[in-house]
């Protein structure tokens, strides 16, 4: 990230940021551009939590093949998050189960929480970005 327009790290307080991914990885650009925010944000050393819920759980589904739709499969990038110290990944239990998925189907290790636990987690945040 050595491009001239990127910002240097900032002085300031550490805040609790939560990124809520609610949409399928393809079909709209929200998932990809959300991931771009998370990767840039990692340089700011904030307290980052990622949530996958609703169709957002498909973003981290294993074995994505986008060849037929002619767009890039960006799911391997989620595996790089650990290297950016983004390690708090949560998946909403109801979203996972209603789509017939288990954590075995996901490309990254996650904590599964139910919607009430997720609500509590959200309550603790200072900035929530939902994509």
């Amino acid at each position: 990230m050595a491009e001239p327009w990127e910002d240097d790290e900032l002085e300031g307080p550490v805040r609790k940021f939560m990124y809520v991914n609610r949409r399928a990885p393809y079909g709209t650009i929200y998932a990809l551009e959300s991931l771009e925010v998370v990767l840039i944000a990692a340089a700011f050393e904030q307290d980052v939590t990622l949530v996958f819920m609703d169709d957002g759980v498909y973003q981290i589904k294993k074995e994505q093949n986008t060849e037929a739709i002619g767009v890039k499969n960006f799911s391997p990038t989620y595996r790089a998050l650990e290297g950016y110290d983004v390690e708090k990944l949560y998946v909403e239990k109801e979203s996972l189960e209603s789509r017939g998925l288990t954590t075995e189907d996901l490309v990254v290790p996650v904590q599964v929480v139910n919607k009430d636990q997720l609500a509590e987690l959200m309550e603790e945040q200072e900035v929530i970005l939902s994509f």
Partner: protein
Amino acid sequence: MKLSILVNEGPYQHQSADTAIQFTKAALERGHEIFRVFFYHDGVNNGTRFAVPPQDDRNITEQWTALAKEHDLDLVICIAAAQRRGILDENEAKRQGKDGHNMADGFRISGLGQLIEAGIQADRLVIFGD
């Protein structure tokens, strides 16, 4: 209160582009401070001066330009999202070898770090979009 605004949808396509500027105006009228307005996703399209909406319709970009002038607002367009969608300022047009630039007065192009800073510095980050 110190507020930051995030605009995630494009003008005319989506109500949230209108709501964002209406909210920003209302917040300023009530004496709140706007730390920054950040445009992301299709929201970057709010910053093109090449849009020509029908004369009997509102011009959202001109409204932002006027509001920025009046209140010295910091209107920031995300460079990554803007490049995908063809929103360029003069420098970017030159850098990318494009034959024109379309960013409206009062806006500037910068990185996503400006969004994170907006989240850190403001009391509240208010988001407009789906």
